[in-house]
């Protein structure tokens, strides 16, 4: 495994809950040694977030926590005890990266603010990922993925035009925009460190990657005075483009038609004469008639099995995809199986449990989760012995004295 791209990179991880832990998971899955600083006195709330193994709540039983913390080690430290802070600082002195997603000022209160740490380790890369960033009048606001989706405008633009916004039904910024941007910035800073020896501070406001991914509403408003609106599944430049019912309860297929040739092929596959109207052979007319086209198409697709229809449409070059749910993806999707996306990793309390692999494959060899999420404090002995050279007896005593807890 020493060939993994980030082998040898040491990360001290104070991240909690969503986006931050997902970022360090990406780095850990690619080979970084990530040490998660935890405490029995103040839990990462994701450890108590559903789902749980067998539905039984417990700090080592959350599947949500597990998936966000693969390939990491966990140490428990009481940061209210100066001896705890001192040991963490010793770990940081030898590390490349410190990561957190607290509100501004929290790391300083714990005694591990950037100004302190850069004295200990001038080459340190320090990333903070609060909602609004480290500076500015609203820096102390607390946020969740879903409130970031709202304030960025993303939620308000997702949904049907004439209904209340729907968003994604998830805390979207936590799962893609913030983990990937955080990881990219940390790796860029690593390159600079390796070239110059210099560390630096990265201030990432979790609202800003989401905004960087939706540039057009702001630009179109200035350039053309246009206020963006929800478009549902439609595109103003293509038709049909939508989600249509198929056989079965609550089963749907997404279809996107980009050319008149594809439309012709779609009509042939569906074999429904109501669709075979000469005027609909032109894109402009299909766009103008989008409501009727969609309704007529829905009347035809409902007679088909979704997967069979997808295969038939794909065979004639039409983009079609079944609306898959978690069971479809985990149990059946042949492409997920081919790419071995889902990884079952042994965990001492949860047994064999399910993890996301990474969405990319390296030709040089496997890359992805290396081992299951840690139990709370699972590696306290190992890390303190390995990094700080303390004996088992010393470590036991620090546990008894409420320091390594």
């Amino acid at each position: 495994m020493s060939n993994l791209p980030l082998a040898g990179v040491q990360i001290i991880d104070f991240c909690w809950v969503g986006a931050g832990s997902y970022m360090t998971k990406l780095l850990a899955d690619m080979g970084a040694d990530v040490i998660k600083i935890e405490s029995t006195k103040s839990l990462d709330s994701l450890r108590l977030a559903a789902p749980f193994k067998d539905g039984i709540r417990g700090v080592n039983r959350s599947g949500y926590f597990a998936d966000r913390n693969s390939s990491k080690r966990s140490i428990t430290v009481n940061m209210k005890d100066p001896r705890g802070v001192e040991m963490v600082c010793e770990l940081i002195a030898k590390a490349d990266v410190v990561a957190n997603n607290f509100r501004p000022g929290t790391m300083e209160k714990l005694g591990v603010g950037y100004e302190t740490l850069k004295q200990i380790n001038p080459g340190l890369i320090y990333i903070g990922m609060s909602m609004n960033g480290d500076e500015g009048p609203d820096r102390m606001m607390l946020g969740y993925g879903i409130t970031m989706a709202a304030i960025s405008g993303f939620m308000g633009l997702s949904g049907y035009p004439d209904r209340e916004p729907t968003g994604t039904g998830t805390n979207f910024p936590d799962h893609v925009p913030n983990p990937t941007h955080g990881a990219f910035s940390v790796m860029a800073a690593l390159r600079h460190k390796w070239r110059t020896g210099e560390g630096q501070k990265i201030d990432m406001a979790q609202t800003e990657p989401m905004l960087a991914l939706i540039p057009l509403p702001v630009m179109d408003y200035q350039a053309n005075g246009r206020v963006a609106t929800r478009q549902g599944n439609r595109s103003p430049w293509h038709s049909p483009r939508g989600v249509y019912p198929t056989k079965g309860e609550d089963r749907w297929i997404a279809i996107s038609v980009y050319s008149d040739l594809q439309w012709k092929a779609l009509v042939e596959v569906l074999g429904d004469e109501k669709l075979d109207r000469s005027e609909w052979q032109s894109l402009a007319r299909r766009i103008a008639d989008a409501n009727i086209v969609d309704a007529t198409l829905a009347g035809a697709t409902i007679n088909f099995d979704g997967y069979e229809l997808m295969a038939s449409l794909q065979q004639v070059g039409v983009a079609a995809g079944v609306v898959q749910n978690a069971a479809d993806l985990v149990d059946r999707d042949p492409q997920m199986k081919h790419r071995a996306h889902w990884r079952c990793l042994p965990h001492s309390e949860m047994g064999e449990s399910l993890y996301n692999g990474l969405p990319f494959q390296f030709s040089s060899g496997p890359v992805g989760p290396r081992f299951a999420a840690p139990l709370l404090g699972e590696h306290t002995h190992q890390i303190i012995a390995e990094k700080l050279g303390k004996s088992d007896r010393e470590i036991d005593s620090l546990i008894e004295n409420d320091v390594l807890v």
Binding site: G153, M204, L211, D220, N224, V243, S363
Partner: protein, 388 residues
């Protein structure tokens, strides 16, 4: 001039309607990104909306954002001359990003890698380079369906609805950038290149929150939930628009007591209810009770006022922003988030999103506008002709 983290990295970007954000992440931290375009130009140049609603190769707002900081070179890869030129460029490049370039099928990444063993090549395709769906077509909508995010978005029992702004394509671009940079860091240390095969479907699967584990551990399938409400959670109409409120927080956090204190301090009638032991935000009548108490108060306050009060009382609440809100937002303004399109380009003076992260020593920078088609041909040929 501040140092640039990715200075000295040359990227060849062979993109179409996706792939460009991956290149942008590299370009904005200092890499030299060359957009290799077909003779008719990148498909993104034709993507509406246009500046002044006037179509034209340099007028696409999307192109002016996603191609800023990049150079442009035209190569017809269907000709042997074009292919040879690409091979020559690839010998002096560190990274190739290949997505839906119109001539993608002519590009042999394995051959390019054989000629430059430290080269990292990242290919983005709808379902991955091999496997039963490898030959399937996919666009953002159908891939969001196949990737499992679509099924969670919308109203129960009704057709699901896709996220705004092609977030499926962009998820792939983001993971492409992450995997490429990781491989590049190794290549610079060991001379070992890499061929990376990235699936858009699989990038979308990364966004499923806890849905896969909820199915595996508890046998439950997460589905659409808009309209099924916990009291005090969701979108509420206020004086000048809408807000998103998460009065109870998530999980076991103590947000209701904060919310109750806020309401009581404002003299809102009956707000004491929220601090009582009987209050349960999942009880059947709870949302009605909540609205009777909160809505008359909210109707008299603006989004910005409520956001400021929520910050004070530590309640998760956010305005449902529209473009004009974002351009006036005091926090984004303080941080200088929106930046004017560089002078000399068609988007000159139009504000666009700026740095998604602030690196203290190697800051993000916008240095040049999106290039006119083939703008850098002369400079790049010259470089290639000089002995290296």
């Amino acid at each position: 001039m501040a140092a640039r983290a990715l200075d000295g990295i040359r990227v060849l970007e062979l993109s179409g309607l996706y792939g460009a954000y991956a290149g942008k992440l590299f370009a904005d931290l200092g890499a030299e990104v060359i957009l290799v375009e077909p003779p008719e130009g990148s498909p993104m140049r034709s993507k509406p909306p246009f500046i002044g609603d006037e179509p034209g190769p340099d007028n696409s707002l999307a192109f002016s954002y996603f191609a800023a900081n990049k150079a442009s070179l035209v190569l017809d890869l269907s000709t042997s001359g074009g292919s040879k030129e690409l091979a020559r460029l690839a010998r002096n490049a560190q990274l190739i990003i290949l997505s839906d370039h119109p001539q993608a099928s002519t590009i042999d990444l394995k051959a390019l890698r054989a000629a430059n063993t430290a080269l990292v090549c990242t290919q983005i395709t709808p379902f991955g380079a091999s496997g039963p769906y490898a030959h399937y077509q996919g666009d953002d909508l159908t891939l969001m369906a196949m990737g499992g995010l679509l099924t969670m978005a919308g109203f129960p029992g009704e057709p699901p609805v896709v996220a705004y702004g092609e977030q499926g394509y962009l998820a792939a671009d983001q993971f492409a950038a992450v995997s490429s940079l990781a491989a590049l860091l190794r290549a610079e240390r060991t001379e070992q290149g890499e061929l990376i095969d990235l699936s858009i479907q699989e990038a979308i699967v990364m966004a499923l929150e806890n849905a896969a584990q909820t199915y595996q551990l508890e046998g439950k399938i997460r589905n659409r939930s808009t309209g099924i409400k916990r009291a005090g959670t969701g979108i509420y109409t206020v004086k000048d628009g809408e807000i998103y409120l998460l009065a109870g927080g998530i999980g076991d956090t103590a947000m209701w007591s904060n919310f109750a204190q806020w309401m009581e301090a404002e003299g809102v009638e009956n707000a004491g209810l929220f601090a009582t032991a009987e209050w349960s935000d999942t009880a059947p009548e709870a949302e009605d009770a909540f609205q009777r108490i909160f809505m008359p108060y909210a109707a008299g306050k603006t989004k910005a006022e409520l956001y400021a009060l929520a910050r004070h009382w530590r309640v998760p609440l956010a305005p449902m922003s529209v473009a004009s809100d974002l351009l006036q937002d005091r926090q984004l303004d303080y941080r200088g988030f929106f930046v004017s399109g560089p002078s000399g380009g068609p988007a000159d003076g139009i504000k666009m999103p700026g740095a998604p992260y602030k690196l203290s020593r190697t800051p993000w920078s916008l240095r040049r506008p999106a290039p006119p088609l083939g703008h850098d041909a002369r400079a790049l040929h010259h470089t290639e002709e000089s002995p290296s």
